[in-house]
Symmetry: C2
Subunit: 267 residues, 2 copies
């Protein structure tokens, strides 16, 4: 069993909720990565809405940082179960407090389909010519990088180097687990903030809200991510992202609203 599967394991509770442990191995500094917490909540939705395995549209609001190493529970409310998709909400709670609120539609992406229109992946040097993501510049330990192998475009690996709000590169699990639609939610929130490419290291970029649209199941192998920002006002930033699989198929489009805060280097 892969680290990701082990560390997103849920136990069904008699009252209909799900419980587990927030593993510290997915931390950014002292805080669990938001994308990892999101997969815990969506895994609970997958369990509660059987028959619809793939998250098609997922919105999460991050209300409080998660607590690494501590138990969590997820309460699920199924809002509508349909033939082609089901909609539900999930609330991830730790220590009696809500950390994440998720609203999502799940469906089935098992039919192979050719897109009528799609986004093309950007040119990218092969992974071995890219630069492994490190926490060095921010001075943050990034346990997440023992789980995720992230290789950044060599022109965008250093904060401020890109000269624009863009970051791109490759991503996969270190242990060889193939990507799936659940993991693609994690991958959508694992790159450094695109705004670092323009502004350099800017302290703390907490995410208020993230919406991920999953477009198809990914092929095995590396995924390619590109994240850009072009809308920053009064410390409120919109970042757009996309992920492609190893066959060049678009798997994810995502967008997040974040705050850009000078000061203490957290993410």
């Amino acid at each position: 069993m892969s680290d990701f599967d082990t560390e997103t394991r849920l136990e069904a509770q008699p009252d209909g909720g799900y419980s587990g442990i927030v593993h510290p191995s997915w931390n950014i500094g002292d805080n669990p990565n938001g994308g990892y917490l999101l997969t815990l909540a969506v895994a609970a939705l997958q369990r509660a809405m059987p028959g619809h395995a793939d998250p098609l549209s997922v919105t999460v609001h991050f209300l409080r940082p998660g607590l690494a190493g501590k138990p969590f529970r997820v309460d699920v409310q199924v809002l509508r179960q349909g033939r082609t998709l089901s909609t539900g909400r999930a609330t991830l709670v730790q220590d009696g407090k809500t950390c994440l609120e998720v609203l999502a539609a799940l469906g089935d992406l098992d039919r192979p389909a050719e897109p009528v229109m799609s986004l093309q992946p950007p040119p990218m040097p092969p992974p071995e010519q890219c630069v492994s993501r490190s926490g060095g510049e921010q001075g943050l330990p990034l346990p997440l990088l023992d789980r995720l192998d992230i290789r950044l475009h060599p022109g965008q690996a250093r904060a401020g180097a890109a000269g624009e709000a863009m970051v791109s590169g490759w991503i996969r699990f270190h242990d060889g687990r193939p990507p799936d639609t659940l993991a693609s939610l994690l991958f959508a929130d694992a790159f450094p903030p695109a705004v670092f490419g323009l502004l350099g290291m800017v302290g703390w970029v907490p995410t208020i809200e993230l919406t991920v649209h999953v477009r198809r199941r990914p092929s095995p192998g590396w995924m390619l991510g590109r994240f850009t920002a072009n809308d920053l006002i009064d410390g409120r930033l919109i970042e757009d992202g996309a992920l492609w699989d190893s066959a060049g198929n678009l798997v994810v489009q995502c967008r997040q609203l974040s705050l850009v805060r000078q000061g203490e280097p957290k993410e």
Copy 2:
């Protein structure tokens, strides 16, 4: 009082919910426009989270069509009240069934701010050289157009004419009510589907989920909208939009996940 203010009026209920009537004057065919229903739910959040008047990030899942002319109620749950923003969910119910589920963060956009990065509005002929939106081609009555004055770019006003999945134009209230951040949610869902520009009239494009980010309060006058799509697979479409105010300031970015269905012309 403007039509919009009158027809989004809420009555606070003793149990903490809000009630009102879904006015048929905002219909697309027989169904209330989704953006109008969304403003009812967000108006309830504004009431329940005083001090934070502006929707910053709003996600709505459309679970069932609304019922025009019928009463509704909105149940609100405040998830977190903070100093700079508050987060809550709202559920719009008619006839005992959930029509909309909304998850939103509200804050304050009363500080004038210069953007660090922003999107520029596209070139657009003045409103008097644009073409009023009509329901004619779809054969649908559009009562909504008695409330909203929508003028489409002359090259994009006829389905299929644009040759690409794009629609753009001007929008305002017919009765002269100035736009605000609540109305900008309505404006984000009032243009014809961008995909008509590429595919021609394609029947029914029901929205599964819409996320709107409001970036600032709009100046009075016309707003300019541009909506594009570049990601359609297996009948699932992503449409991106943006709205600018009369001073050329970006007010809204939005994205929706819709289904593209041949057949019965609804929207």
